[in-house]
């Protein structure tokens, strides 16, 4: 080990140097404080320094003080040589950061002991540093693993746990966005489509972020679904009220949430396009913003219920709100309104209302992107302190229109009815009222309807004949809508195998042909057990 010996007195210096060399140390010498300092600042500097207290230039105590003030360099063990053995001097040396002292004239055995003690301390320190480094490395690896896990969690949440806004709703468009603060979040939303005119939007926020938050969000969502199907089943197929669904979920989860010391705010909104009515259960969630273009005004919809997981005896009540074509409803998490600027100001609900009032006419997905951008600009940060979720539901501007002509026939679940169904569709097309389909579009509609009907006859009633299928046609100015309804088994198009186009398999063309032949196809399961395939063929815009 390298040891610095600094003393302006040549005799002492040589003596110390001599004994240290004899003991096997690598010795560097300095004749004054400045030399000592320079030697300690160089590359491969000594790890131990024996400094005379009184030297020209910097004295030993000052060199020691400077060493201790320095960061980022290895520790130097300092022994001060002094001829003054007063406690005041000792205190001054200790204050400057000296590790030990030796009184002159020194005797070699004492020096040996002090230097050995210093060596032990330096070795212990080196070992300690090494284990700290190992610990840090292990910690970094753990952190990396945790980040990977959270990233996987975030992907799972985005793809499997978050409901996607249903496309092709009738008379309404929905857009949703969530920007988690920790990649995976406790905000959640979901959508249930019940029939053509009725759908539910659920937006929730769990207290707590990260994986536990996301898991609780997912659990609440699955309880909502379970409550919905349980109530539909027990009430012979009629659609349960939102407050009844929440009551079931509340009784299922509140006790557990209290035990977990968490809670969830929730907004359960049912839109009924036929009655132009919104039914809302507000479980302590942020107030829903309702924009009315006819009045150029926004209003806040808020119930007075507490979040799920607060009080076991809470009774959840729904509120109702009528709406008009063109109205927009905006749901959001408090991550939006409670976003903070650098000066500590909150984004606030008024700012959000104004944004929506000014942007209510644009498409919902653009509106939520605008809100997000406004929050980013306000906080001057792309990352959010809290999860940020927005769902916008916009009613179509055109009223929920009645068709120009409506017709329907009732057929039975037999294959010989297929031709009758095709004739019915051809009659509707050939009426010449509303949308005009050319021969090719007519034929495509026939193909789609026929495939849908074949599917229903073959599969919906387990092959039983004599079951009822209702086929209806609605003519609008720009489109023809055909519905095929039955009370058999619903059909999930996702289960259909894709066709093989190389002729290796004969089945599988039906669902594919339907998709190719019409502009819209929906498979709807309604609460009363009615299943409908809805096909829309639009007048060609050529």
């Amino acid at each position: 080990m390298k040891v610095l010996v600094a003393d302006d007195d040549a005799i002492t210096r040589r003596m110390v140097e001599g004994v240290l060399r004899r003991w096997g140390y690598d010795v560097v010498v300095a004749e004054d404080g400045d030399q000592a300092w320079a030697s300690l600042q160089g590359d491969d500097a000594p790890q131990m320094a024996i400094l005379d207290w009184q030297m020209p230039g910097l004295d030993g105590v000052e060199v020691c003080r400077r060493l201790r003030a320095q960061t980022g360099r290895p520790y130097v063990y300092v022994v001060v040589l002094t001829s003054r053995d007063t406690s005041q001097d000792l205190a001054q040396g200790a204050e400057a950061g000296a590790d030990d002292y030796l009184v002159k004239p020194f005797d070699p055995p004492r020096l040996k002991m002090r230097v050995r003690a210093g060596l032990r301390i330096l070795q212990l320190q080196a070992e300690l540093m090494k284990s700290v480094e190992n610990y840090k490395r292990a910690d970094a690896e753990l952190e990396q693993a945790r980040v990977r896990e959270v990233e996987t969690g975030a992907r799972i949440q985005q793809t499997l746990l978050l409901g996607q806004p249903p496309p092709g709703l009738f008379g309404a468009r929905i857009a949703a966005i969530t920007s988690p603060s920790q990649m995976i979040d406790g905000d959640f939303y979901d959508f249930f489509v019940h029939n053509e005119s009725c759908f539910d939007v659920i937006v929730g926020d769990v207290m707590g972020k990260g994986i536990p938050g996301a898991l609780i969000g997912a659990a609440v969502k699955s309880h909502l679904q379970r409550a919905l199907s349980q109530l539909i089943y027990s009430d012979r197929g009629s659609l349960p009220e939102p407050e009844d669904i929440i009551a079931v979920v509340h009784s299922d989860v509140t006790k557990e949430l209290i035990k977990l010391e968490t809670f969830a705010t929730l907004c359960y909104a049912r839109f009924d396009r036929a009655k132009m009515k919104l039914t809302l259960v507000d479980c302590g969630h942020t107030a829903t913003i309702h924009w009315q273009p006819s009045k150029d005004a926004t209003r806040l919809l808020q119930g007075d219920n507490v979040p799920l997981g607060f009080i076991e005896t809470e009774t959840y009540k729904q509120i109702e709100q009528s709406f008009e074509p063109g109205d927009l409803f905006f749901f959001y998490s408090d991550g939006v309104t409670e976003a903070m600027s650098s000066t500590g100001e909150m984004f606030g609900v008024d700012r959000l209302r104004e944004l929506i009032r000014r942007g209510g006419l644009i498409e919902p997905h653009k509106l939520i992107e605008r809100v997000r951008a406004a929050v980013v600009a306000f906080t001057q940060s792309e990352t959010f302190a809290d999860d940020l979720t927005c769902v916008a539901v916009k009613m179509d501007e055109v009223p929920w229109g009645a068709p120009l002509v409506h017709a329907e026939i009732i057929v039975t679940s037999e294959l010989n009815q297929l031709q009758k169904i095709r004739s019915f569709v051809s009659e509707a097309v050939e009426r010449g009222e509303g949308a005009e389909l050319d021969d090719e579009a007519h034929y495509q509609l026939l193909l789609a309807v026929n495939e849908a009907a074949s599917n229903i006859v073959r599969h919906a009633h387990g092959g039983r004949s004599g079951e009822t299928i209702v086929v209806s046609s609605d003519l609008f100015t720009d489109r023809i809508v055909i519905r095929l309804s039955h009370h058999g088994q619903p059909f999930d198009p996702a289960t259909a195998k894709p066709p093989s186009f190389d002729g290796t398999r004969e089945g599988g063309f039906g669902v594919y042909m339907i998709e190719q032949c019409v502009d819209e196809v929906q498979y709807l399961s309604e609460a009363d057990g009615k299943n409908t395939i809805r096909l829309v063929k639009r007048e060609s815009t050529r």
Binding site: L418, R422, Y443, E451, S454, D502, G503, E506, M513, C517
Partner: protein, 128 residues
């Protein structure tokens, strides 16, 4: 509604299946039987005339795919006379045009079969 199916053979024994009426899931079983019988009797080149078929659905396409799969094993093929635009459209939508030979009339379809048989024959000769 009944599907009319008639089978006739050319002098050189090429079967021509003439179908009249709409082929759908309901009516396709007789059509399937006819084709299977012909193939079982080792007719691996079959001409099917769909000129009088105003409409066919995916079940009918399934019958044709089944037939083509059977004759292909023996190096044969199914030649279709598809004159109505809508029937052609059904094959286009399902991309099945590729696995059938489509003709505008019976003589062309028969000539096509003869060409192929001749080509296969000379290949076999060359090979032997």
């Amino acid at each position: 509604m009944v599907l009319d199916i008639a089978v006739e053979k050319t002098v050189d024994n090429i079967p021509i299946v003439r179908v009249k009426g709409e082929i759908d899931l309901h009516t396709c079983s007789a059509f399937r039987e006819t084709l299977r019988d012909l193939i079982d009797q080792k007719n691996f080149e079959v001409v099917i005339d769909l000129g009088d078929v105003p409409y066919l659905d995916s079940a009918a396409l399934g019958v044709l795919v089944d037939a083509v799969r059977r004759v292909r094993e023996y190096g044969g093929g199914i030649s279709l006379v598809a004159t109505t635009p809508f029937v052609r459209r059904a094959f286009e939508i399902t991309r099945l045009v590729k696995i059938f030979m489509l003709y505008d009339d019976e003589p062309q379809a028969i000539e096509g079969v003869r060409d192929r048989v001749r080509a296969a024959g000379s290949e076999a000769e060359a090979a032997s």
